[in-house]
Assembly symmetry: C2
Homo-oligomer: 347 residues x 2
Amino acid sequence: MKTPSKQAYVPFVSVANMMKIVLHIGIERVMADLVQEIEADFRRWGKFDKTPRVASHSDVGVIELMPTSDGETYGFKYVNGHPSNMKKGLQTVTAFGLLASVDTGYPILLSEMTILTALRTAATSAMAAKWLAPKGARVMALIGNGAQAEFQALAFKAICGIDEVRFYDIDPAATAKCVANLQGRGIKLTACKTPEAAIEGAQIITTVTADKQLATILTDNMVGSGVHINGVGGDCPGKTELHRDILLRSSIFVEYPAQTRVEGEIQQLDADHPVTELWQVITGELAGRTSAAQVTLFDSVGFAIEDFSALRYIHSKLAETGMCEQLDIVADPDDPRDLFGMLLRSA
Amino acid sequence: MKTPSKQAYVPFVSVANMMKIVLHIGIERVMADLVQEIEADFRRWGKFDKTPRVASHSDVGVIELMPTSDGETYGFKYVNGHPSNMKKGLQTVTAFGLLASVDTGYPILLSEMTILTALRTAATSAMAAKWLAPKGARVMALIGNGAQAEFQALAFKAICGIDEVRFYDIDPAATAKCVANLQGRGIKLTACKTPEAAIEGAQIITTVTADKQLATILTDNMVGSGVHINGVGGDCPGKTELHRDILLRSSIFVEYPAQTRVEGEIQQLDADHPVTELWQVITGELAGRTSAAQVTLFDSVGFAIEDFSALRYIHSKLAETGMCEQLDIVADPDDPRDLFGMLLRSA
């Protein structure tokens, strides 16, 4: 059989290679780089084709496609969300993604994105907090100590200077896992027995639980004035974490309103409830935090542009690290009209 | 580094393995099998989540995601359409696709689909003709002799009993390629110098040209009574092949109206122009051809369920043929909550 042409091959970053790339660069450095990449793309928000993700819901979870394009490069992510997976020993969220040339439609990168999504989600949270959290914040409460938790802790350390994280989870084993994994990284790690204890003295409260239900992880009386809430786990219709009263007294910041109004905490509010788009804060068009007493909420659901930024970042590291394989996924006959002939001659 | 768990691996069908599978089974047999699979899925149309494909258009082409689900299995295809690629030595259409378990969201198959799309497009055309073409049709005109042409010819031979194909292309080299590739397969192959010559004596007319423009491959006076038109190339907004007058005197059959009204030949007609859904003909709910003089038109644009059927077919062949690789694309730590720990321990 003839060897496929060079164009037939697409660089592929496996899970093993993604872990190598991240450890080679350093996790906190990757977080800082990702914030830079995502901010740069948020600054040119108008250049992107934007659409709410295309979701296929079932009783137990959701499978989503998240496409976007800046006119030169197209990207999309496949991602699932299945809270019941954990009991089966499976990941709640797994993902992979692709970049392609808009000019030819040919893929230029296929990559695992379970790990990359964990990184970009944490980086986006820390980026938002950089613009919204009270000045001099040092202590973060981290409620929900699952697969995303350590990534959040490290991102807030690297980007926002958080040096104490107070953990709470309904399962103490999850908290113990986080505390063990984060030893020796320059963060004071405090395991708490109640959510109330976790938020004591915290200027930032991160909620990142996984149940697909309308939950109330935070009630109104738990949220003092001046805090920043990083609400990560409410990211699906019928899946929220915060009591509605908290939303009513917060300044709410979102990624892409058309998506967040369906999936985020603000699905609990009227469709015209005022929210600020994060990119407008980053460009300076609109204000972020305007007073010390203000409660700010980043209603994070995850948007396609963040995945695009993350994929482009990984793509930019391939030449330097060589940490990828070549995948024979594009049929590329010598004569482009002779696909059938290529098939025949492969015999 | 620890070896990834079994769940971390997804069977991957490369271009090389797809060609092996197709040649192992036999091209005409694959066509017949695909018609059976697609018909079976069209018969249970109501079971599927259906949405028009999500398209990202540019000046030179389109990149599309085509998802669907039957409640047990989820599938999607990535596909581009770039007519200008041919001049660069690239394929107009390349594609890959995925199947996943709805219960867990975990992928169960990743496959090249450039070749598989060529096969399923031809199989769908022949399936439609089986229900719509005049009885005893033996001669097909094939206008547009690019990458899809030979697949169409073989599908119509295998499914509809076509034994003469009359070829026309504005580039005689494309016609010569088809005639050379199809030698010895029991089809009379006639190269024609004009489209008028090609349709002489043909009961079926297939148009499968690629230009992204409102073209007129067939004018009204070229189409005699009683023929079946298989219009394949008009599959994008602003990309059609048939004169509007032909549409006005044809009985029009489509895959999924919400998509075809935007992308197909019928984008030239009023939004409420009557069309029949092909699945309703297959289930017997509605009539297909009702008279010998009727002009029938299958306005083919390609729908996600056809890709789903094709992917499931390939998936069903993997155990028997072993013609796939295992791709490390799902991060699957022993403790599903310990994604960060897996990353740390990979060092």
